[in-house]
Each structure stands twice: as structure tokens, then as C-alpha cells.
Symmetry: C2
Subunit: 214 residues, 2 copies
């Protein structure tokens, strides 16, 4: 009773996803267009549309494929607070490796199924520290905002740094800074660039976790 009629398929969903990965890995997510993908497959854009509803669906499929093998799941310590910190750190580090993902991810507050491991461990650690289920979920969300914000801002900032030769908008603003209006910023002044270049993700994360888990 199963498929008996019709033209035999030339491309399959796994092949499509694999081709999409090749494009993203070599040329970046911005270059992933339906046309470029079809070219990579030796096919036409519309052949792809027979397997996926639209480009968004393709991106979700791609996300899952990446998640499957890029998610770091380190051994977590017994101490519940430290478990929260290290789970969040692992979530962050996994996402940074495929940072184009956040542009897709932020569509929802929960990403693919593979990310549940992080959520579970963060919520569990928080509850083991004495938070209620409700508080633990709220704590997870605060952590997710922090992690996502850090990744997005860093990604954009480093893209700028790579592309731009002239001084950044920020540099100009600081150069023209009025010390009377903004004494603290004037005090920090030229060190701003240096200070914001430092990686302070984990210290910030620990502060957040400490604040969330009294």
C-alpha cells in the first residue's frame, strides 16, 4: 500500500541538510540561500521546496543537526550552585562554536531538544539550592538572557572589528566625551576599549548565579 507511483527522488532531506551545513561551514550563514543551496546540491531551488516548507524550516533542521554533535556535555560537579555555573558555561561555549545559531535560536526562549540538557541541569541545580520550581525557571531565564546577550553582542562586535578599518562609532563618542557630564566615563576614558575586550563572561555569570541563589 506504500509508495508505488511517481518519480524517484533525486535529493533527500538528509542530503539537503548536509549541503546546507557545507555552505554554512565554508561561507557563513549569510551565504545560505535557497539558490546557493540548490547549486551545492546540483539541483534547483524548487526541488528543495518539495522537501521543506520554507527557509525557516530548513534553518530549524540545520540547527538540530548542529546541536546533535556540537553540544558540550561536561561532567558536572555535585555542588548544585557550581552545577548551575558550569552548565551555563557549557551552554554558552557550545553556542559560541556555532554562533550563527543564536540568530535562529532567539526566535524562542528554548532552542532545540538537545539544549534541554542544559535547562534541566540549571533548573535542577537551582532547586537543589533551595529555590522553588517557579523560582528555578525564572533563574534559568535570567541566565539565558545573560548568555544569549553575551553571545549576540560579542558576535556582532567581532564582525565589526573584522570588517571595519576606520575608528568605531564608540571610539568617536569617547573621544568627544564631555568630562563634566560624564565624570566616571571620562575617568575610565581610553581604557574602555581595553576593558571591554577582556573576556568577563564567567565572572559575570558567577555574579548572576550568586545573586539568583541567595
Amino acid at each position: 500500500m506504500s509508495s508505488r507511483t511517481g518519480r524517484p527522488p533525486k535529493i533527500s532531506l538528509p542530503e539537503i541538510v548536509e549541503a546546507a551545513r557545507r555552505v554554512v561551514d565554508t561561507d557563513g550563514v549569510a551565504k545560505l540561500t535557497m539558490r546557493r543551496l540548490a547549486q551545492e546540491l546540483g539541483s534547483t531551488p524548487m526541488a528543495v521546496y518539495h522537501h521543506v516548507r520554507d527557509k525557516d524550516e530548513l534553518l530549524v533542521l540545520l540547527l538540530d543537526a548542529y546541536a546533535e554533535e556540537n553540544m558540550l556535555k561536561p561532567e558536572l560537579p555535585d555542588d548544585p550552585r557550581e552545577r548551575v555555573v558550569l552548565a551555563a558555561r557549557a551552554m554558552h561555549d557550545s553556542l559560541v562554536r556555532v554562533s550563527w545559531v543564536v540568530e535562529v535560536i532567539t526566535a524562542d526562549d528554548l532552542m532545540s531538544e538537545s539544549a534541554l540538557w542544559y535547562v534541566e541541569n540549571i533548573v535542577d541545580g537551582a532547586m537543589a539550592c533551595g529555590l522553588t520550581a517557579e523560582q528555578a525557571v525564572h533563574a534559568y531565564r535570567a541566565i539565558w538572557y545573560y548568555v544569549a546577550g553575551e553571545i549576540i553582542i560579542h558576535r556582532k562586535a567581532s564582525r565589526r572589528r573584522a570588517a571595519d578599518d576606520r575608528p568605531t562609532y564608540r571610539d568617536r563618542v569617547f573621544a568627544e566625551l564631555d568630562g563634566a557630564d560624564y565624570p566616571r566615563l571620562a575617568e575610565v576614558g581610553a581604557r574602555w576599549g581595553e576593558l571591554t575586550a577582556q573576556d568577563t563572561f564567567e565572572t559575570g555569570l558567577r555574579a548572576l548565579v550568586n545573586g539568583l541563589i541567595t
Copy 2:
């Protein structure tokens, strides 16, 4: 010695920015294209290009115009820790009102000059609590990650909610959740949607500030 020759201008930079604002206010930032803008001006795309280098420059100009009049600057309390919280809250609330802005903003860790007020007050409050200049800048960045992350994720989530009729990806994931692998998430279960719909920005912010300022 100044301009003597040449055709008289038909459109000015202020007019361009004003027209861009009309487009963004009525139809959203996604509809702001050079062609649509030209139409709004009763002109051609290339006339605009004579006044701005490219679309990015237009967006920065637009950002400044919005910032000038949308930035909330409430009276801040004397207590330095509370000053940090309320400055961050005001920064957040100002940005939410023009949330399309974050898509442009995140290009750098500092936005327009108008945002310096927030930065100054956050850094100042942190230093008044005993942090060094260096620590205060790092604290500001952690707060900015949190604020930016919250705005971006909320913006995207609400866009989805408006557009989509079918159940979200998240709902499907939770429905198929394996309680053995993820006991805590199974425990929270159906309440997830309800819990993540709550506005917990300020409690999260206070936790972060408390963690940053011992």
C-alpha cells in the same frame, strides 16, 4: 568661497531621517528599504545615496534621532546600588519602546551618545558601592548583556506569538519530553509557558546587581 555652483537640493538629511521615521513608525523597521524611503520622499533611491553613504549610516542617523527623544531619564535615588538598578531599568524600558533599535544597537557594545547617561550612572553607582573602575566597567557590561538579551528574546518571542497559529516548537518539545531524562522539566511541565510569560526582568536584574555588588 563656499558653495556657489550646482543644482539646488530637493531633499535634505533631516527630511530623509524624518521620512525614515514615518516608515518605521507606521510599517516597522523591516519595511524600511531605500526604495520605500525614496517613495516616501517623492524622490529616487539614488537621491538618498547622495546624502548618506549606505543604509547602515541611515540606520545610525535614525537611531540618534529616536534616542534624542525616547530615552527616559528618571530621577535616580541616592543609594548607589538602587541607582544602578533603576538606571538599568530605565535603559531597558527606553529600548523596549523602540525595540527595533536593538537590531542596530548590538552592532557595538555602546549605542548612541544618548545612552552614555545610563552607562555613567551604572558605572558611578557601582564605584560608589566600592568597585574599582575596572570592576565597574565589567559590571556594566554584564548588565548590558542581560538587558540586551532580555529585549532581543522578548521581541522575537512576541513576534512569533503574533504571527504563528500552530503550536510553537517549544510546545512540541515539551509535549514529547522524556521524564526519565529530564525529571525537573517534566515536573514543571505544562507550567513552563505560563512561567516564561511572566515579566521577571526586574527580579533578575536585582539578582544580577546584588551578585555584582557584593
